[in-house]
Symmetry: C2
C-alpha cells in the first residue's frame, strides 16, 4: 500500500501560530511533533516510508522535507504544486505517478493536519479498506459523530455490501448541516463524518476521474511528464514551466465534488478512530486533557480563576485572571484573544489583517529559508537587528546588497564567511563587517547549529535588496 499525504491547507484559523507562509501542518498545534510529522508517524505501522508520497505548495516544500528528515522521507516523493487546485487534481497527479510505477498500486490518501487518537483502530480500518479497495471500490472512512457538529460534511449510510462485513454503500454525501439538522443526524445514528481519508487502487480512481472529471483526467499524463527534480538541494519534484501553466489552468475541485458524489463505486467503513480535523482553536478542547477548571494551558502562564479557557503561551509571561470560555494565543509578534465560540472566525480576522496590509497576517516572526531561518529582533530608523540560524551543512547564497552594510557576530557555532576574495572562519564571539556591494556568503560547514546576530545598516532595509550570484537552492 502507498500513502499519499495532502498538505495543502493554509490554516488561517490557527493564527497567530500558523500563517500563510507557515501553515498549520508545519506547526506543533497538537504536540509533540508537528501535524505533518504526526501524520507520517501514524502511517508507518502499515506503510513503509519509501511508499509515502506528499503533495504540498512549492513554498512549503523545503521546510516540509526538513521536518521529515528524521523519518528518512524520500525527497523526490514530495510533489511541489505551483498553486493550490484543491484535492481532485492533486490526487489525480499522484494516482497517475503511482500507476506508472505499479499498475496494481493501492493508495491511501490522508490529510496532513488532522489528529487520530486511536492509532490501532486507524490501522485496522486502513487494512480493511485495502482489502475492499482490491475489488475496485473507492473506500472512505466514516467517523461516528460524537456531537452535532456543523463544521463537517456527512455521509449517509446506505445498503450493506455483499461479502464485506462492516462496509456500506454511501446513500448520499451531505454538505455541512445547520445545527438542527446536525442534531437529527446524531440522533438517527446512520450519518457519519466525512473525514477525507480514502483508500483505492490508483487505477480505480483514475477510471472514475476519466468518467466524472474528464477535463482534469485528460491532462494528468502531460502534467506528470512535466515533473522534474527541483534545482538545488533538496531534490523534490516540481513542474516545469509548461507543467505549471497547465496545472494552474485546471479547475479547483474537491475529490468529493468531482468524483465521490457521482461515482457508483464508493463504499465506506465506519471507523471509530478518535478523529479530529482540529479546525480551529476550540478544537483543542477535544484533543488535550483539561485541568480541573476545564482549561488547557501551555507555556509561561500564571492563571487565576479561569474556566474552560485555552491559553497557549510561549516564552513571554502571560497572566490571566477571571477568564471564561476565552482563547489566548501568544506569539513573538502577534497576539490573539478571542471568545471560544468565535474561534471559527479567526479566519475572518486574518482576512481583515491581510486587507489592511499587516504582514503578521501572512508572515511568521521566524521566517524559514532553505538554509535555516531568520527572526527580526529589533529595528530603528536606519538599522535592523536579526537572529540568523544556519542549519548544519547549509549555506546562504553568494549575494550582495546595494543599500545596506551588515555586521555579523557569531553567538553560537562556527561560521564560514566569504567576503569578496577572502574567506574567514569565525568562531563564537567573532565579528565581521560586510560593506555595501561586497559579494558575501554565510555558511555552516559544521555539525552544530550556527547562530549569528546580524545588524543591518542603511536608509533602505528591504529583503528585496539582494543580488544572488550563486545559490545551491536555485534562487539565483
Amino acid at each position: 500500500m502507498y500513502g499519499v499525504i495532502l498538505a495543502g491547507g493554509s490554516g488561517t484559523r490557527f493564527w497567530p501560530i500558523s500563517r500563510e507562509q507557515s501553515p498549520k501542518q508545519l506547526q506543533e498545534i497538537v504536540g509533540p511533533g508537528t501535524m505533518i510529522q504526526n501524520t507520517v508517524q501514524r502511517l508507518l505501522p502499515l506503510i513503509p516510508i519509501e511508499n509515502i508520497f506528499l503533495g504540498t505548495n512549492h513554498k512549503q516544500a523545503v521546510e516540509t522535507l526538513r521536518q521529515l528528515d528524521s523519518y528518512n522521507f524520500v525527497a523526490d516523493h514530495l510533489i511541489a504544486e505551483p498553486c493550490s487546485r484543491n484535492t481532485a487534481l492533486a490526487i489525480g497527479v499522484m494516482a497517475q505517478l503511482m500507476i506508472d510505477k505499479d499498475p496494481d498500486a493501492i493508495m491511501g490518501v490522508f490529510p496532513a493536519d488532522h489528529v487520530v487518537t486511536n492509532s490501532e483502530a486507524f490501522i485496522k480500518a486502513l487494512q480493511k479498506a485495502e482489502t475492499i479497495a482490491q475489488n475496485g471500490y473507492l473506500v472512505t472512512l466514516g467517523i461516528p459523530p460524537t456531537r452535532p457538529e456543523t463544521g463537517f460534511g456527512y455521509l449517509k449510510q446506505g445498503t450493506t455490501i455483499e461479502n464485506m462485513e462492516g462496509a456500506y454503500h454511501v446513500d448520499r454525501f451531505v454538505e455541512k448541516p445547520d445545527n438542527h439538522t446536525a442534531k437529527q443526524y446524531l440522533e438517527q445514528g446512520n450519518y457519519y463524518w466525512n473525514c477525507g481519508v480514502f483508500v483505492w487502487k490508483a487505477a480505480s480512481i483514475l477510471k472514475e476521474m476519466q468518467q466524472h472529471a474528464k477535463n482534469i483526467y485528460s491532462q494528468l499524463e502531460t502534467i506528470v511528464g512535466c515533473l522534474q527534480t527541483s534545482q538545488g538541494k533538496p531534490g523534490y519534484q516540481e513542474l516545469n514551466k509548461k507543467g505549471c501553466d497547465l496545472f494552474s489552468s485546471l479547475p479547483s475541485l474537491s475529490i468529493d465534488y468531482a468524483v465521490m458524489e457521482n461515482s457508483s463505486q464508493v463504499v465506506f467503513i465506519p471507523a471509530d478512530i478518535g478523529w479530529n480535523d482540529v479546525g480551529s482553536w476550540n478544537a483543542l478542547d477535544d484533543v488535550y486533557e483539561k485541568d480541573s477548571s476545564g482549561n488547557i494551558i501551555h507555556g509561561n502562564v500564571l492563571a487565576h480563576d479561569c474556566n474552560n479557557s485555552i491559553i497557549q503561551g510561549q516564552k513571554r509571561l502571560i497572566g490571566v485572571l477571571g477568564l471564561t470560555d476565552t482563547v489566548v494565543v501568544d506569539s513573538p509578534d502577534a497576539l490573539l484573544v478571542c471568545s471560544k465560540e468565535r474561534s471559527q472566525d479567526v479566519k475572518k480576522l486574518v482576512e481583515a489583517l491581510n486587507e489592511k496590509g499587516h504582514p503578521e497576517g501572512k508572515q511568521p516572526s521566524t521566517v524559514k529559508r532553505p538554509w535555516g531561518s531568520y527572526t527580526v529582533l529589533d529595528s530603528g530608523p536606519s538599522y535592523l537587528l536579526k537572529r540568523i540560524e544556519v542549519l548544519p551543512g547549509e549555506t546562504l547564497s553568494l549575494q550582495s546588497h546595494q543599500h545596506r552594510s551588515e555586521h555579523w557576530t557569531v553567538v553560537s557555532g562556527n561560521a564560514e564567511v566569504v567576503r569578496d576574495q577572502e574567506t574567514f572562519h569565525l568562531k563564537t564571539n567573532d565579528s565581521i563587517t560586510i560593506p555595501k556591494n561586497a559579494k558575501h556568503r554565510l555558511g555552516n560547514s559544521e555539525s552544530d547549529l550556527l547562530i549569528v546576530i546580524e545588524i543591518q545598516f542603511g536608509q533602505h532595509l528591504d529583503e528585496n535588496d539582494i543580488s544572488r550570484f550563486e545559490d545551491r537552492y536555485g534562487r539565483c
Copy 2:
C-alpha cells in the same frame, strides 16, 4: 503657596505596564504625559515650579527628575525616601522643610498618580482652600460621588463654618464602605470621596502632628537635619545613614489616620473637579472616551465584535475577537488578560508572580538607569543581546566584568568608549569588543540619543557581575 507631590505608589494593579521598579506615576496610564508630569502640569497655573516639592522612593528619584526636566523642576526639591512610611511622615518632613524656609508657608499636598479632568474647577478649589488655610484650618477637598464606589474612603459633611461659604466641618471620616452602605451614601448626598488633596499652613499641620502624632513629630527636625545633596548628578536630597535609620524606624501611618481623623481643625470644600484615582485598569472607563461599542482601544490592535473591553497594545499586533468586559494589556515581556470585574485583583496576580520568582512581576522589560536604559532583546545558552540607550551627555560607570566579554555596535548616534588605556570615538555602524576584565566605559558626549546593540558572551551572564571604578551617579 507651595505644592508637595507625594509619589509613593507602587501601582501593582497596573501590571504589566507599571511594575515595582517603574511604578504607576512614571507611566503614561492616562496619556499623553506620565501621571507625575500631568500632576505637575495641573498645578502650574497656581504654583510656580520653583515652589513645588516632591517626595518619592530613592529608587525612582533619577527617573522622576528626568521626567520633570522639561518643567525646570528644581532637582533638590525632590526628597528621596529610603523606604515607604506612608503619608504622615512624608508630609511631616515636607512641612518641617518648608517652615524652615518660610514660617508662613501654605502647602498643598497632592497624590502623584490621580486624574483631574476639570482643571479650572481644581484651581478654583485650591484658591478657596488657600484662603481658609490662612485661618489655621486643615483643608481637604471632598469629591461629590457619582457612583456607589466601594474603593474609596468618604467624608461625612458636618456643620457650616462661620464666614466661610461652601466650607464644612467634617462630621466623620469613614473607611471604604460595603456596596449597600456606598449606595446609601450616594443617595443621602452628604457624603464625599476623600481624595487625598490637602491644603494647610505648614505650621498648622505641624502643630496638629505635635498633638496627634507626637512620635513622628518629635523626629522631624532631626530628619530634616540629615538631608544632604545626593552623590553624583542630578542632585536631589537624600538622608544620610543616621537619617535613613531614623526614618525607617518610624511608624507607617496615613495622614488621615494619624491626624485628620483626630483633629478639630479639619474642614472640607466640596469640589466637583472630575477627580479619579485611576486605581485599576477598569478605571480607564471613566477617563477615556469609548468607541460606539464601549471599548477603549490603544496601540496596534485589530478588534472585531468586542464590547466594553479595554485593549492596551503597544508595537506588537493584537487581534481581538468577540470579547466582552475584558481587559487585554500587552507589554514586550508580559501580557495581562483579565475580566474587567477582576481588575482590582491584578494586584494579587502580581503578588503570586513575585512569590514564584518571576522577574516580570517587579522589573520592567526596559530597565531605567541614571544614564538611560537597557532592554534585553534575545538570549541563548551563552549570550545575551541588549539594546542600550545612553541619554545625551550621560555616561555609564567605568567598570569591568569577570565572566563576560561584550561586543558593542553603535546603531544610532556617536559613542565615546574607554577601554583600558585607550579612548575610541565610534560612530554609527562602528563596533568594538570589550574583553573580560577590561576596564571600560560607554558614554554619549553628544546631544543626540546614543543607541548601542550589546552582545554579551560568557557562561555566567548576570547584572551583578560588575566592578565599578568610577561613577558619576555615586554607585561605586
